[in-house]
């Protein structure tokens, strides 16, 4: 069994009209499931991944051999308990873990799409994943959940399909990507595009990889996922395997070495063009746009119970932006809970072992499931 065979794929036959105007059909959507769908089909949770995540949320990722990205939260007996719930996670379109993405071969040219791949949006991602409900014959999901870009998909899903989820948990996200976040994403994209090996996006046909550019993009982004206090506590000014400064541009400091390592392992598992496409989708995300700037209107038809979670040290998607969603829902009398979790682990808190966060998710899910 080759590694790619370990990826489950739904071939979506139905045409999907993208926001950019193009229509795609017969495209692959890679997914993974955890736990069992019960007879009533009322225990399904759809998990949306963040920028560099994929469908392998739990257990061991068979491709990278690393732990699933949400291993702390998701699995048997965990906060999202797969002994109890049936969890579906899909790779977003534009991604690089088996779903339709820029490294796929264009049947017309027999070459990888590269930057001829259509620009996709959060809306497109969610509309593509909706096909999984039909595939599994699930009338209504128990929950849609995700952090960061996953949270944006949660919001978009509920807005697009107001009666298809009993509960929704958007975590550490926003309803409208901020200038600061667009700026940070642009920094990453420019880093990739500045790499000579990027070749206007057609690097694969030339057997090149813009690894340097992608690694720098990851390094810069990685800093934004942490907090100043967290970095200071973990690294401070500690030196990397040396007693004193070397008076060179070698990685003297542990933080430098750590970032370089993060960059180098990232390029082994992630496609540079996918990074461009997915960050673009995040930047284009503004749920209020269609509704004249009024976020409440995006949720007017929804009967979903919302539970929004933010983290004290998250400066990328700060509490204030999460609270905007709470305010918009309260303004129209929707059922919404909100918790800000204390953590010095920054935006990444939702991926890490933060007991208050994990307990909160567990309690909300289990108590809500009793009531459906």
């Amino acid at each position: 069994m080759s590694e790619k065979d370990k990826i489950k794929t739904l071939l979506v036959k139905k045409p999907l009209k993208l926001d950019c105007g193009q229509t795609i059909s017969d495209f692959p959507l890679a997914y993974e499931t955890y736990g069992k769908l019960n007879d009533k089909k009322d225990n399904a949770i759809l998990v949306f991944h963040a920028l560099t995540g994929d469908q392998f949320a739990s257990g061991t990722n068979p491709i990278t051999k690393k732990d699933g990205w949400w291993n702390y939260a998701l699995g048997p007996g965990k906060a999202i308990d797969t002994d109890k719930y049936f969890v579906i996670a899909a790779n977003v379109i534009g991604g690089c873990m088996g779903s339709f993405g820029p490294s796929d071969v264009n049947p017309k040219t027999k070459k990888p799409y590269g930057t001829n791949f259509p620009v996709i949006t959060i809306n497109d991602m969610v509309n593509a994943q909706y096909n999984l409900l039909e595939y599994f014959k699930i009338e209504k999901l128990f929950c849609v959940i995700g952090g960061s870009m996953g949270g944006m998909q949660v919001l978009q899903f509920v807005s697009n399909f107001p009666n298809k989820a009993h509960t929704a948990i958007p975590i550490a996200c926003t309803a409208s990507h901020s200038a600061q976040n667009i700026a940070l994403n642009e920094l990453g994209r420019q880093s990739i595009m500045a790499d000579r090996n990027w070749q206007d996006g057609f690097y694969e046909e030339q057997n090149k990889q813009p690894d340097k550019g992608l690694a720098v993009a990851r390094m810069a982004a990685h800093i934004t996922y942490l907090s100043k206090a967290g970095l200071q506590e973990k690294f401070g000014r500690k030196l990397q395997e040396r007693d004193d400064l070397k008076f060179s541009f070698d990685a003297d400091f542990q933080i430098e070495s750590y970032l370089r390592y993060q960059g180098s392992v990232f390029v082994d598992r992630f496609d540079a063009n996918s990074y461009l496409y997915i960050t673009r989708a995040m930047d284009y995300f503004d749920l209020t746009k269609k509704f004249g700037g009024n976020l409440s209107k995006a949720f007017e038809k929804s009967n979903t119970k919302f539970f929004i979670i933010s983290f004290t040290s998250d400066w990328l998607y700060p509490t204030s932006e999460n609270r905007e969603i709470v305010i918009a829902l309260n303004a129209i009398g929707k059922d919404v809970g909100f918790v800000e979790i204390t953590s010095d682990k920054g935006h990444d808190s939702f991926l890490l072992d933060v007991p208050d966060f994990l307990n909160t998710v567990r309690n909300f899910l289990n108590k809500s499931y009793e009531k459906i």
């Binding site: 309260n330 303004a331 809970g337 909100f338 108590k367 809500s368 009793e370």
Partner: protein, 184 residues
């Protein structure tokens, strides 16, 4: 559950839409959810209390009543409950206005600084009163704006706030707690 909560719960009507401002660990909300109305949610400032509410399966919004009530539209709740918190706000007048704006009715309870024990304490000992209901010393009390039942009634009178019900018998001297239903 403390007696005050039973008294407050008795004042809300079946299936009413309710907001509990400063809902604490959710004890009152849980009782109301199970016995009177499921359409109840709370606002709470303390993170540990918010966690307890979530554990109990209650809808809670972490937030500060002094800042976060303005997100609710006018008359969006049948009842808004404020139990023994009014005196701890920086700007109680603003909070009261907000309660009466977002709730058709507001149920407000206050610890009564006019109770005889409080009066006697100050008279005989000459120090700031410390009682069961007011357990803190002057330097660490969260209570910034203590008032008596009489003060509160005067306040409402001056602002044409209707006091629909007063849930205490011997008024200012003998009630440790005043519970009021207010309407604009």
């Amino acid at each position: 559950m403390k007696k005050e909560f039973y008294n407050i719960a008795n004042l809300v009507t079946k299936n009413a839409k309710i907001l509990d401002v400063g809902c604490g660990n959710g004890e009152l909300m849980k009782y109301i959810t199970e016995n009177i109305s499921k359409d109840i949610r709370g606002i709470e400032l303390s993170k540990s209390n918010v966690q307890k509410c979530v554990e109990r399966g209650l809808t809670v919004i972490e937030g500060d009543a002094e800042k976060d009530l303005k997100q609710f539209p006018d008359n969006s709740f049948d009842f808004v409950i404020l139990s023994q918190t009014l005196q701890a706000f920086l700007d109680p007048e603003n909070v009261l206005n907000e309660l009466l704006r977002i709730g058709k009715k507001a149920i407000v309870s206050i610890p009564n600084f006019g109770h005889w024990k409080v009066r006697l304490h100050l008279l005989l000992k000459g120090t700031m009163p410390v009682t069961e209901n007011l357990p803190n010393e002057w330097y660490n009390t969260p209570n910034l704006h203590m008032c008596t039942i009489k003060d509160f009634e005067n306040y409402c009178k001056q602002r044409n706030i209707k006091i629909n019900l007063k849930n205490f018998k011997f008024q200012n001297l003998f009630s440790e707690l005043g519970i009021f239903i207010l309407e604009k």
